[in-house]
């Protein structure tokens, strides 16, 4: 039986958990920075490499290795950019972390900057979460005031400025190169690679872009050592991570556990599926990761095992849906999101999500035609691997995986010209279904037999 391993969440129950005082008193705050400042920067990189920390933003690229891709220091600026543009449907780990204990990130930024010799780090926060933005600004100010940031950090002679930047509300800006363009004040759209950010990133200078949780995990590795970190998790997915349970689950929330834990174990801790219902499908790492059903309850939630089960660990956003949920409706809403958030740069994502959105809405409303299912599968094939960035690929995951698992349910919508589910039953709150407006208003009558 796997147990929880609270590290980043350890002090969330403390009074004013977000304050620097709490972090110092209860969270071993800034011990790691003091230690790091006595180490050679290269040794810090090695430590993180040895620990096996992999990117917590979804892709799982080894963090230390990413840092070591920076070209040799030429004395000119190099940057650390923290990606806090958490926008994926279902993903909700960075924002709670920044609300509850932002100093983990600030200390991680200081250590990482010292390791890669960066003197100006940026934290790009999703613009919609104004309260998080304020809390982070406050945390950074506290760190400045205490001498953890600014000129001559803790008397080490190392200078570091941290800028917290609020985005303007675009999912695409979570893509690292689009984030850099946005941070530079341009229209947020992904850049052509190469050059990769490690070579030409922010302001065309070598740049490391890391997820909040990755950087926030760095202090614990430095303080406790690589072997401590590597002792958690599996052989190739080491350490702990935040697992965010949401949806039809008795106690939704953040569960910090070693990678490799299973959903069955997590559900046990969370009190199971909501009373009187059973699991229908779930996402292992946000809406962009192909969905699972009950048969994958025992898949270890690590990069390799989830990959082997034909999905992705992603951001460990475990969205749980019980049998009251219409998979067509869920997928349709996800597709609404992707169509709304497609940046528009490349054809397949821009046009494909626009098309899929209309088919899904039509099928859900009872206007589907027999060809629609095959057409959707084929369109997803024309988007996947053809789009400019990974966000286009991600948009196809819910469609292809839901058709794979629940093709009959799609067919039932088409055959009976209506959705067999009552959306009110799946709601966890008082809910009156809204009818579609705009171009999708007449969806039910568009297709038909």
């Amino acid at each position: 039986m796997t147990t929880l391993t609270p590290v980043l969440t350890d002090t969330w129950d403390a009074e004013k958990s977000w304050s620097l005082d709490t972090y110092l008193a209860k969270g071993h705050g800034y011990e790691a920075l003091r230690k790091a400042l006595t180490m050679a920067p290269a040794d810090i990189v090695t430590e993180v490499k040895t620990a096996g920390l992999r990117g917590r933003g979804g892709a799982g690229f080894p963090t230390g290795l990413k840092w070591s891709f920076l070209p040799p220091d030429d004395g000119l600026p190099r940057y650390l950019v923290v990606n806090a543009d958490e926008s994926e449907p279902g993903t909700c780990k960075d924002i709670p972390l920044l609300m509850a204990s932002p100093q983990h990130l600030v200390e991680g930024v200081a250590i990482t900057s010292f390791a890669i010799n960066c003197h100006h780090a940026f934290i790009y926060v999703r613009g919609e979460v104004l309260h998080v933005y304020r809390r982070l600004l406050q945390a950074v100010q506290e760190a400045y005031d205490a001498g953890y940031l600014g000129k001559n950090v803790l008397g080490s002679g190392f200078d570091l400025d941290v800028t917290v930047h609020a985005g303007a509300g675009a999912y695409i800006c979570g893509e690292e190169t689009a984030l850099l363009d946005s941070l530079e004040g341009r229209r947020g759209q992904p850049r052509l690679k190469p050059p990769f950010p490690a070579v030409e990133g922010l302001y065309a200078r070598p740049t490391v872009v890391n997820n909040v949780e990755s950087i926030a995990s760095v202090p614990s590795i430095i303080r406790n050592g690589a072997s401590w970190f590597a002792s958690m998790g599996t052989e190739r997915s080491q350490g702990m991570g935040l697992f965010s349970l949401s949806g039809h689950v008795t106690r939704p929330g953040q569960y910090e556990a070693p990678l490799g834990i299973t959903l069955r174990e997590l559900l046990d801790m969370a009190g199971g599926i909501r009373e009187g219902h059973e699991l229908k499908f779930w996402t292992p790492g946000g809406s962009s990761t192909p969905m699972f059903d009950a048969s994958q309850l025992d898949v270890p939630l690590d990069y390799e095992s989830v990959g082997a089960a034909k999905s992705m660990l992603g951001t460990r956003a475990l969205q749980i849906f019980d049998e009251t949920t219409c998979v067509v409706r869920a997928t349709s809403r996800w597709m609404d999101f992707y169509a709304h958030e497609s940046c528009g740069k490349c054809t397949p994502c821009r046009e494909g999500t626009f098309w899929l959105k209309q088919i899904l809405a039509r099928v859900e409303a009872g206007g589907g035609v027999d060809e629609d299912i095959d057409t959707m599968v084929d369109l997803c094939g024309n988007i996947l691997g053809r789009a400019f960035c990974a966000l286009g690929d991600g948009a196809t995951s819910p469609v292809t995986s839901s058709i794979q698992l629940f093709r009959d349910e799609y067919q039932a919508h088409i055959d009976h010209h209506a959705c067999p589910f009552d959306p009110v039953k799946s709601a966890l709150f008082e809910y009156t279904p809204k009818s579609r407006t705009g171009a999708l208003a007449g969806a039910a009558t568009l297709g038909g037999h």
Partner: protein, 860 residues
């Protein structure tokens, strides 16, 4: 410095090649070549929309997907997991590429993208301007599905969206390839259009003042246009001299021209290559015509000259050639009125009149600056043989004896000098008396390319840094008009080890030192414009500077015919090929070529334009033979009108009715460029031949002059080409800078030049183009403005004893005590209204506030 040295010798290091396989065919390409280019070399067609060889890769449309495998370290071929965009992928050694022709994966991928592109695209090909020459239409046929699976609702937009007065955008047809926005960012460098919104709502748009809480505070980064239009966030209006190129490179029918829209189908058009007649860049164009009517003009493809770009003037200004005031028959004056006449009658009368005028002091010859080389040669020969006159001058502008000597000495008969390619390789280009964007047309784009791609440094001697100079990242060497010679002289002094004046500000001293050093670098170029004729000593100083530093010197006139005219000898004292008229050997060579007795040629240099006009006025000259010349373009139009009115006998060769034809005794109609073949000579010295696009009975100048010569019994047959002149050349000019003018309170020195789009006769009949011309404004420095009590946006009256112009004021970072006006824009004809030229002292005064005239951007 090694790199610079290599640059100079032109010896480029050999580029290593890589060998790859595309569709089972091996090909070697230079390292860095994109896969899509390598495929082109093999003749393998890969469909594409966003890709354009002159723009940076973007990889947006995804149409050019191919399957790629590359060898790993052990040499085993590894397939890339996803199809790759061949427009962004550089070829690497051993790469194996499979296009749609050999790969089902690539074929499916391309078909999928094409289906997506067509999904929201309107099926209005039958009425679309692009239909028949449309990359989307063509590639949909080759790479698309035969039918559509889309049964849902298409995205719609209001259309058209006017991007400017001449460009209308149909957003529904747009495939968002970003060619147009990349063109304006990368090539032209002028804010113009940009992507807006996102997802399926993403669209090309101009800045919308109603969004983003934009506050128009009146601050302007650049000049407003006559037709108004929206502004960019920095206050720059959406105006560009090069915007028409976006229509041509648009791979669908999204960008359309207001004049051409819905007027023709590409497959009904006949295309004839041509050379643009609007400036001395002599850009290659394509004239598209239908049933004897020119419908549009496109950029030609000429990598050595204009690549694939032309100015909007080259593209849209062609209606003048078939304007309603076109002359179709000869006219003769009878009882004070012009009446149509037969060619026989008109030629007889013209010959008689010219012969008589020759006997009464001689005939002044004013051919104008827009002739082809053949015409210029004929005019030169006709003047010297049929009229026995060296009173010949093509310059319809400010001119000087110094310039005559400069051109005869260093330009005439020198063949190809500095070329566009040389500019690209140059480490430094110094612009003197020349605004590349306003006066050089395409020249500006090549300079900008050199700046962007090859690190060219540009410096400009001018009263202020124009938007053009700024977009070249140019350094301004601030100079009041007339003071250019002092700047150049100081640099010469620095280059030759002389001392700089002790009181020179440090910044200027540094600029001079830098410039002297940069000009000494191999390949450095000095480009001088025709405006130096109005700045005493400037041509002299430019020659001295070139000699002192080793920099190459080139003269860039504004009008298309001027370089050819210099070659043909359309200046007093200058025979064809740079031969001095005063040289007996030169005269003998020319006389023999022209089949006349050398003794019959004039031996002393004649009058220039000013001299000819004065002699016509006082009756010293008996008559005039005038070509395509606008009197309002001359430095003193009033004097010119009086001269031609007073002249004993005037023959005019013109395409359209003009002030000259109204004063002429005989008018002989001649053909516009589109109705005749010929050749212009570009500022480079490059001969630019072009065929006749339209069948026409209209005669070019040289045929009309031949008929006149026959009437006068003067031989005018074609002759063998003159050999290259190796004898003595005209003496170099020696002219000192003029004394500093007195500037009493309330006066300033006039600075002025032509804007590319102005009131010129060759832009007549194209209101949409005129709408993109800049609003005439007066530019003053803050100090000058304060001196007369006007503020930015107020109105100033610039006056002389002749007249006054009232214009809105744009306070500009510029030389004090100078006022800049556009030379010949609508509502601001400086020569005509003020009788003044750049460098002259004019009076300045605040105009009555809120004057309607000023607010509308011009005087009557």
């Amino acid at each position: 410095m090694t790199a610079t040295a290599d640059k100079a010798t032109g010896a480029e290091a050999p580029v290593p090649t890589v060998t790859l396989t595309i569709d089972d065919v091996e090909v070697s390409v230079p390292k860095g070549t994109l896969v899509i280019r390598a495929a082109e070399q093999l003749g393998i067609d890969v469909p594409r929309f966003c890709d354009h060889p002159l723009l940076e890769p973007v990889g947006a449309c995804r149409q050019c997907l191919v399957e790629v495998a590359t060898p790993d370290r052990e040499g085993n071929l590894r397939s890339m997991p996803k199809p790759q965009t061949s427009c962004t992928l550089e070829a690497t050694p051993g790469m194996v590429v499979k296009t749609a022709a050999t790969s089902p994966v690539a074929d499916k991928a391309q078909e999928g993208i094409m289906e997506f592109l067509l999904m929201n695209h309107p099926l209005d090909c039958p009425v679309c301007d692009k239909g028949g020459e449309c990359p989307l239409q063509n590639q949909a046929m080759s790479a698309g599905r035969p039918d559509t699976r889309f049964i849902d609702v298409k995205r719609v937009f209001t259309k058209p969206l006017p991007v400017s007065a001449e460009i209308l955008l149909d957003r529904e047809r747009c495939v968002l390839c970003q060619r147009c926005t990349r063109f304006s960012d990368e090539i032209a460098g002028d804010a113009f259009i940009a992507l807006q919104e996102r997802g399926a709502e993403q669209q090309i748009g101009r800045f919308d003042v109603d969004i983003l809480d934009y506050v128009d505070d009146g601050a302007r980064g650049a000049e407003a246009t006559l037709a108004g239009g929206a502004l960019t966030p920095d206050g720059t209006p959406f105006a560009s001299y090069y915007s028409g190129n976006t229509i041509q490179i648009c791979p669908v029918g999204a960008l359309t021209n207001a004049s051409y829209r819905f007027r023709a189908r590409p497959f009904d058009l006949i295309s004839t290559p041509g050379i643009a007649e609007h400036d001395s860049s002599c850009a290659a164009i394509r004239v598209d015509h239908r049933r004897g009517v020119v419908m549009r003009r496109q950029a030609g493809d000429d990598p050595a000259v204009n690549e694939e770009w032309i100015t909007d003037k080259d593209r849209f200004a062609f209606q003048w050639q078939c304007a309603p005031d076109r002359l179709t028959t000869p006219l003769v004056r009878e009882d004070g009125e012009l009446r149509p006449a037969s060619w026989v009658e008109a030629l007889e009368l013209a010959a008689e009149g010219l012969a008589a005028a020759r006997g009464q002091g001689g005939v002044g010859v004013l051919p104008g600056g827009r002739l082809t080389l053949e015409d210029a040669t004929a005019w030169s020969r006709f003047a010297r043989t049929a009229l026995g006159s060296d009173d010949v001058d093509q310059r319809a502008r400010v001119h000087s004896e110094e310039e005559t000597a400069f051109l005869a000495r260093t330009v005439a008969g020198t063949g190809m000098g500095v070329t566009f390619t040389d500019l690209e390789k140059a480490p430094l280009v110094l612009l003197v008396g020349l605004e590349a964007e306003e006066e050089g047309g395409y020249l500006f784009l090549r300079l900008r390319k050199a700046v962007r791609k090859h690190g060219l440094k540009v410096m400009g001697v001018a009263p202020f840094a124009t938007r053009g100079l700024q977009r070249l990242n140019g350094t301004l060497l601030a100079s009041a008009p007339g003071r250019e010679a002092e700047w150049l002289g100081a640099v010469t002094a620095q280059a030759t080890g002389g001392l700089l004046p002790a009181d020179l500000p440090e910044q200027e001293a540094q600029a001079i030192t830098d410039l002297a050093a940069a000009l000494a670098e191999p390949g450095a170029v000095i480009l001088v414009g025709e405006r130096l004729a109005g700045s005493a000593g400037a041509y002299t100083a430019a020659l001295e500077l070139a000699a002192a530093t080793g920099a190459r010197l080139a003269w860039v006139p504004r009008r298309v015919g001027e370089r050819g005219g210099v070659e043909a000898g359309l200046l007093p004292g200058l025979l064809p090929g740079g031969r001095p008229l005063t040289d007996a050997v030169a005269r003998a060579e020319v006389a023999s070529a022209w089949g006349v007795d050398a003794a019959s040629l004039p031996t002393t240099p004649g009058r220039d334009v000013t001299g000819i006009l004065a002699a016509l006025t006082d009756g010293t000259l008996g008559g005039a033979l005038v070509g395509g010349l606008e009197l309002a373009d001359l430095p003193d139009p009033a004097a010119a009108r009086a001269a031609l009115a007073a002249a004993g006998f005037v023959v005019s060769l013109e395409v359209r009715a003009s002030e000259v034809t109204a004063l002429a005794d005989v008018v002989l109609p001649v053909a516009p460029p589109v109705e005749r073949s010929g050749a212009y000579v570009s500022w480079e010295g490059r001969v630019r031949p072009f065929p006749a696009a339209l069948d026409s009975a209209a005669q070019p100048d040289h045929r009309v002059l031949a008929a006149l010569a026959a009437q006068l019994d003067v031989p005018f047959e074609a002759v063998a080409e003159l050999p290259r002149w190796t004898g003595e050349r005209v003496e170099a000019p020696v002219e000192a800078p003029a004394d500093l003018p007195e500037l009493p309170a309330g006066t300033a020195v006039l600075a002025s030049w032509h804007l590319l789009l102005d009131d010129g006769a060759l832009q007549d009949g194209e209101p949409h183009l005129a709408g993109t011309a800049k609003v005439p404004v007066a530019r003053l420095s803050a100090v000058t403005a304060e001196g007369i009590g006007v503020a930015d946006g107020g109105a100033v009256t610039v006056s002389t004893d002749r007249g006054a112009l009232t214009l809105p004021v744009t306070v500009t970072d510029m030389v004090d005590h100078v006022v800049w006006l556009p030379l010949a824009s609508k509502g601001c004809r400086v020569h005509d209204t003020l009788g003044a030229s750049p460098g002259d002292v004019v009076r300045l005064g605040a105009a009555a506030a809120g004057s309607d005239e000023a607010a509308n951007g011009g005087a009557a």
